[in-house]
Assembly symmetry: none
Homo-oligomer: 208 residues x 4
Amino acid sequence: MPTRSDTDLRTAVLDATRQLLVREGYRDLSMRDVASVVGCSVSSIYLYFSGKDALIHTLMAEGFERWHAMVEEIAAREATAAERLEALCRAYIAFGLENAEYYEIMYMFHPDRMARYPKELYRRVRRTMDLTAELVLAYAPEAVQTSADARIAWTALWATLHGVVSTLLTDRLDHRIDRSRYIEGSIQFTLNGIRAFQPATLPGEVAR
Amino acid sequence: MPTRSDTDLRTAVLDATRQLLVREGYRDLSMRDVASVVGCSVSSIYLYFSGKDALIHTLMAEGFERWHAMVEEIAAREATAAERLEALCRAYIAFGLENAEYYEIMYMFHPDRMARYPKELYRRVRRTMDLTAELVLAYAPEAVQTSADARIAWTALWATLHGVVSTLLTDRLDHRIDRSRYIEGSIQFTLNGIRAFQPATLPGEVAR
Amino acid sequence: MPTRSDTDLRTAVLDATRQLLVREGYRDLSMRDVASVVGCSVSSIYLYFSGKDALIHTLMAEGFERWHAMVEEIAAREATAAERLEALCRAYIAFGLENAEYYEIMYMFHPDRMARYPKELYRRVRRTMDLTAELVLAYAPEAVQTSADARIAWTALWATLHGVVSTLLTDRLDHRIDRSRYIEGSIQFTLNGIRAFQPATLPGEVAR
Amino acid sequence: MPTRSDTDLRTAVLDATRQLLVREGYRDLSMRDVASVVGCSVSSIYLYFSGKDALIHTLMAEGFERWHAMVEEIAAREATAAERLEALCRAYIAFGLENAEYYEIMYMFHPDRMARYPKELYRRVRRTMDLTAELVLAYAPEAVQTSADARIAWTALWATLHGVVSTLLTDRLDHRIDRSRYIEGSIQFTLNGIRAFQPATLPGEVAR
DNA sequence: GATGAATGAGCGTTCATTCAT
DNA sequence: AATGAATGAACGCTCATTCAT
């Protein structure tokens, strides 16, 4: 009597881990818990993952994958550059909020602290960013002219979005501020910033 | 030969904890580690702190204190509103980078996960934010008109700054991007965003 | 060379605990001690018992079980009521002495001090007592007439027996007194007490 | 401003310990607690007691002292032998109940487990018992004829009383049994036992 | 392919005790 | 006479990991 005949254990473990990550957070996640949710033995997990780190790494990769897919979908949309960039921003925030601590392991973790993560991931992340940079470039071609500029602009834009997500996830938004307004406001004014973008000059250089 | 006679153990423990926090992050911080860095016994730590939580709380309070002092100093400066707000932004980022995961425990932590932190801290944090809001208001009085707007604008501004710090601390800045340029760029364009600020409209409302 | 292959660790842990309980008493019993006697790691104990309390509870239950079995066996004997009650008394004392502080955890412990013990045990204990009460009733039907009287008589009888056990276990019997004589003497005169039993009158009531 | 000028620290420590012993029980008694109740430093306790054991020993001695005094007082009373022996029994139980865990350390502790207790105490305890034996002898001179018999009888009597105290202190009295009736019943029927006393014969000897 | 048994290292915390001052 | 500072050993317990079956 195969309890789990069709779906394999590896998948079940990933599902359980993802679920527990949201419920308990990364540090309270234990192999025991995962096994107990899956309904298998602890040691079985080691058949598919070399250890806890590898398990987490897999989820991180999965997360980046998902995000990449979203970006690709948006990039492919029939819409104005402005609509697409706004959509990207909203998608990012939504992604972060919906994936909660899943997001945490993707972004808030010092890679150095875990066994070195495969280079391959960095490559993928960079590819995602390049794709995003194109959207930025298309959005404000008169302000952002080189693709180097675009990367700067996007990283800065991303920083805002990350800040928003992180602020909301950790519940640090002042309670007097309306959540949706805050999100929209942040997006709008960071986009304003992009449009008004001019290659930054370091302090000491001829200023803006 | 008094190794520590003049400076007391309490201070040494705090120093070691701060240092370890940067090296190991909060969750990997153990009382044993702290003791070993300080060069004292584990139980000695308990002479000055009732437990691990209390130790961390102390550092958090200390961090917020320091930041508050910086804000006050900047607010008191003889300078234009623009200079002061820019200074605030740079100070924030510098503070975050220099205090590394000291910063982490201050901002990246869900308060709910630790034994409830004294209300008093929250009050201080909000006071700091109000002070900051004034700087924002002074910077762009034509765009940001009410102090409610100012709080929204600041929280959004803060989100960017937090994003920058977090991006840099977690080493996620694309290595092709110049660090200083990125910082300046982020500050400039977030300030642009402030000047162009208009109370956000929710999607569905009459848009910008 | 299997040191323990045939008998399982769970049993070994219980054995060691019982043994240590005699040697060290309950409060000085540590999981480390148990592990060291068993020759296993501390954490292995947790494979079979959820914690120290559970370990002790198991032993308590086991003890009460054994005692209940003895009572049942005696109640079933083909013998006079007098012989059976005397047998019960001797059995009680023998049980206490042979099981040493195993006895201690069964009887000398304030239940309140440990995580609440399952009700089920209390029920068993009371059932054992009821069974015993019957033996008392059969022994002196003219003196002890109601089963309520029997319970009082037995509890008082038990108090004596417990006193004897406790006295001997804690080595408080005056060394000039012969151990066996003391035991027999106590039994005889407590039985005399039973036969001469009359429902106690509180001081102030019309006295005997 | 001497906070404790008249009464010395030694006394205060003993008082605090006694008080804590009742409140917390022996095993939860800590030097810290004592010091905190006294309002002195932990190390100050060591000025008067060489350690925790010595502190407990002192209290045990004190307890035996008190009990001895009670016995003497009763022995000296103008009353019938019966009244005095009954009074002794009631006094014993009252003493045990009123001194709760104070009683515990006096009687429930294996002397072997603590640093050897001074011989002097044993001598005192024996003297107390001899005094008691006299009361027993006077109570039933026709049954208890030699002082050896008296010691046996008393030890057995004591066992009952101890059983009663222990039963009540550990809350093991069946709740359907009235407390006072139980106490009186036990006393009465143990006295009956004494009166009917005949030197015990070992099983195998010519029986009663 | 899957598991149960076992472990070693580590955790936060408590406590009796010592000793220089 | 009294203390504050410091410690070492122990405690109950958890966890990621290994390995024979």
